[in-house]
Symmetry: C2
Subunit: 76 residues, 2 copies
């Protein structure tokens, strides 16, 4: 089995509402010097082969209109 | 500035509802041989130092009761 990790991030230029919410909360919690917060998803899974992973991302895991994804395989 | 990446995952033994939903959707979409899907969050940010990152995770980014987090720094 292949261990795969898919990182899904909002595309550049797309509003990252979660990231903005975190940035907005930082000063009230006493944090400073932290910026450019972007929040995405990480999907970890085991697969028989890497063949289907691209299609899986396009169809199910990510929304290609507003999100970029990156597939990392740990063992082959 | 330090580029940091925080990976936040449901703890072992905690129900991962999103992961289960993805697993449930796989057969209907024609995927097979994919299992153990776990879904978490990835937070990417820039910070002046790494000092605050642990506290940031505990207080704001993760829920330590049900989530594990892992901090990776890209450049120091």
């Amino acid at each position: 089995m292949i261990q795969a990790r898919v990182l899904i991030r909002p595309k550049e230029g797309i509003l990252d509402a979660q990231g903005k919410a975190v940035e907005g909360a930082l000063p009230a919690l006493g944090f400073s010097g932290i910026e450019h917060v972007r929040i995405g998803r990480i999907v970890e899974l085991e697969a028989d082969s890497t063949d289907q992973l691209e299609e899986l991302c396009e169809k199910l895991l990510a929304n290609p209109l507003i999100e970029d994804y990156e597939i990392e395989t740990v063992s082959g």
